[in-house]
Amino acid sequence: MRSVLYALSFLSVMGLAFWAYRENYATQDALRNVDRLQNEIADLRDELAMQKAEWAYLNRPDRIRELAAISFDKLGLLPMEPSQFGDAKDIPYPPPPAASLPADLTLSAPISVQGKLDVVPTNEVQIP
């Protein structure tokens, strides 16, 4: 009995040692990964700041004004003027649909066919 206990505890120590060894390397790996990600984040932040600056530079009012002037024939943009304010009531709305059917359409009488039908409905297909 005692020897079995000894053997079991020895095995569990071995197992734990193996587990600790692997955890150690996994932790180091994770830390390296965090390092790499943080560097990447810092780089991306720098790039983002640069692109924001570039976006602001490309959108500076002077440049937009010049671009609007250069491409006037395509866009026809003019400085905003008081006369450009409109009123909602000045906009022609689409007219209401002319003749609409009432929603609760019901038949006043059952449909009946008068006279004689020429074609008798059939399921058979005739092959010529």
């Binding site: 830390l31 720098d46 600056a53 500076r60 002077d62 004004r65 943009l77 905003m80 003027e81 008081p82």
Partner: protein
């Protein structure tokens, strides 16, 4: 342990037999028993002390060992901590009220040299001059070879220049990363932003510090690491600022003025939506201040805040508003306006020697801009009350604007206040203030009579300052100012749909040695719009303008500053979302616009 009885019978009997006192036996036994107890307690205490000593020794040893280990290890950043909290020593961005960037940082590199590691200093010097033509080859070579171990060559490099320097391939040339302040909009709002430069410099980084304007006034806030990444929103509106600048620049050229300034203020919050001073500069490449001559000739000079001018007839409305508020007159009261007016050895005349008298209503005094009428009104008010009123409007102190230049722009106020000062102050002479002062005072009159403090920081809270004049007086003053535009000196300032109300001011420039120039004027138009419900105040100043109409030189504000201001309002009001008040367009004329 066997317990010894105190009086053992055998010993007592034998003692009795010997004729001794048996009590001594009992005493002896009591003594022995006490000694035993004492010894036991002592042993236990000693054991406890030992235990405590061991515990303390272990605790202190472990703490000491830990401290020693911590002191001996190389410091590293906590690698597993999450990077959600940004660790940055970056200067905060500046944005306009809609979040568009006015100032931001970009990463560049600086170039320095360690001549001791240099392989061929002569070749390096030659090649560097090829890249940077502003360097001097001989001087550079001398500095490379005089035995120093370190020197700066360039503070900022473009990526192309950096690559070229890299291609020289000398191990003595090294780069250090640098954060650089960038103003992407160039000259726009240059006087507000000011500029930035490097403070303390190291190889790996350098401090960016503000040198002027908002950058310097808010330096502590912008550099505070607790606020890193949180931009500061200014009250400026980039689109409005660009438009005002464009129109003002055109107007300045057309009127042949040597300088111009404009301030656009929200009358409820005191927010400055646009502040332009011309000529301006590029804050990315801030010119150095003038070493001699008049500093106001430098483009660095902020005419809207630093420039204190005699603002002329724009002051007349203050005399009128105060007299109305005190109940001395009403808009239709007739006052003496018989020109010229003689006061002691002084003679007060009207423009071009007109005479609007003998009697003139207060309203027409403003509309026709009568100096004599304003003088009589001021004398009715009296110097003490006039002084107190102007003081409450802020004309005696620097403006509280968040610019480093603002506290130094103190208005020039006469030290003594005799009656002649009361008279000249009524029509804006003898007292000098900046356009910003005028903007704040006009906003105070226009917003119903509560004091407005101009600010450059975005604020949504409407702060009602102390009441200066009653709402009724404010309304009457605005209606008089509206009269100036509809039937008076500012008739060119009428913008259909926006009912502009304002007052012109033309002041001769004072000579250095005393007296006034006759052909150099400062023209000001101070106005508010729309007069039915004033929302904005615009102050526009032109320095030494002139216009030639029908081969006649015109130097009055009505011909120069007013048409420019009208164009500014026509262009800016739609951008501010103000609808014209009259129907200007019928259904068929509505044009599609994207702005």
């Amino acid at each position: 342990m066997t317990r010894i009885p105190l009086r053992p019978l055998a010993r007592i009997l034998s003692a009795r037999a010997r004729g001794e006192n048996p009590d001594t036996i009992e005493r002896e036994n009591i003594r022995l028993r006490q000694k035993q107890t004492h010894d036991r307690a002592r042993a236990r205490a000693q054991g406890r002390l030992l235990l405590l000593g061991v515990a303390f020794t272990m605790a202190f040893t472990s703490i000491g060992a830990r401290m020693g280990m911590m002191a001996a290890t190389i410091p590293t950043e906590p690698r597993s901590a999450n990077s959600g909290a940004q660790i940055e020593a970056q200067r905060a961005d500046l944005t306009d009220r809609n979040g568009r960037i006015l100032a931001t940082n970009i990463l560049t590199h600086s170039l320095y040299a360690q001549p001791k590691d240099m392989v061929d200093p002569a070749r390096v010097a030659h090649e560097l001059v090829g890249i940077f033509p502003d360097l001097d080859e001989k001087q550079l070579l001398a500095r490379f070879t005089d035995g120093r171990s370190f020197l700066w060559i360039k503070k900022k490099l473009s990526p192309e220049q950096m690559q070229q320097v890299h291609d020289i391939g000398d191990p003595g040339l090294l780069f250090g990363p640098r954060e650089m302040r960038l103003y992407p909009n160039g000259r726009l709002a240059a006087h507000v932003l000011g500029g930035a430069s490097f403070g303390a410099e190291g190889v790996n980084s350098a401090e960016v510090i503000g040198t002027a304007g908002v950058e310097k006034a808010l330096d502590a806030r912008l550099r505070d690491p607790a606020n890193a990444g949180k931009p500061v929103a200014l009250s400026l509106d980039l689109t409005v600022q660009a438009t005002v600048q464009e129109v003002l620049e055109g107007g300045m050229k057309m009127m042949q003025a040597k300088g111009a300034a404009a301030v656009l203020l929200d009358v409820r919050t005191g927010e400055i939506l646009s502040l332009v001073s011309l000529p301006d500069f590029d804050p990315n490449n801030r010119p150095s201040p003038l070493v001699k001559g008049d500093p106001s000739d430098s483009p660095l000079f902020n005419r809207a805040v630093q420039g204190v001018y005699e603002l002329g007839s724009t002051f007349k409305i203050f005399a009128a508003a105060q007299a109305l508020d005190l109940g001395l007159v009403n808009p239709d009261s007739m006052i003496d306006a018989n020109a010229p007016m003689v006061w002691g050895k002084f003679k007060i005349k009207e423009f071009e020697n007109h005479n609007y008298g003998p009697l003139l209503s207060v309203r027409n005094m403003i509309v026709k801009s009568s100096n004599v009428g304003a003088a009589h009104l001021a004398l009715m008010i009296g110097g003490v009350r006039q002084q107190a009123f102007l003081k409450s409007l802020g004309f005696f102190d620097p403006t509280p604007v968040e610019l480093i230049e603002a506290p130094y722009a103190k208005p020039l106020v006469p030290s003594r206040w005799p009656d002649i000062t009361t008279i000249t102050t009524a029509y804006g002479h003898g007292i000098s203030a900046s356009p910003m002062h005028l903007a704040a005072a006009y906003a105070t009159i226009a917003n119903g009579g509560t004091l407005v403090r101009p600010t450059l920081l975005k604020s949504d809270v409407v702060e009602n300052g102390p009441r200066i004049i009653s709402p009724k007086t404010s309304q009457e003053a605005i209606s008089m100012l509206r009269g100036v535009v509809t039937e008076g000196t500012a008739s060119l300032g009428d913008v259909p749909g926006y009912s502009v109300a304002g007052k012109t001011g033309t002041a001769d420039k004072p000579k250095k040695g005393g007296g006034y120039y006759h052909d150099k004027v400062v023209n000001t138009f101070a106005c508010t719009f729309p007069s039915t419900d004033p929302k904005y105040v615009l102050i526009l100043t032109l320095d030494e303008p002139m216009e030639i109409v029908a081969s006649q030189v015109r130097r009055t504000a009505g011909w120069t500053a007013v048409p420019v201001a009208a164009e500014v309002i026509r262009r800016v009001a739609p951008l501010l979302g103000l609808r014209p008040e009259v129907e200007t367009a019928s259904a068929t004329e509505v044009t599609l616009a994207h702005n």
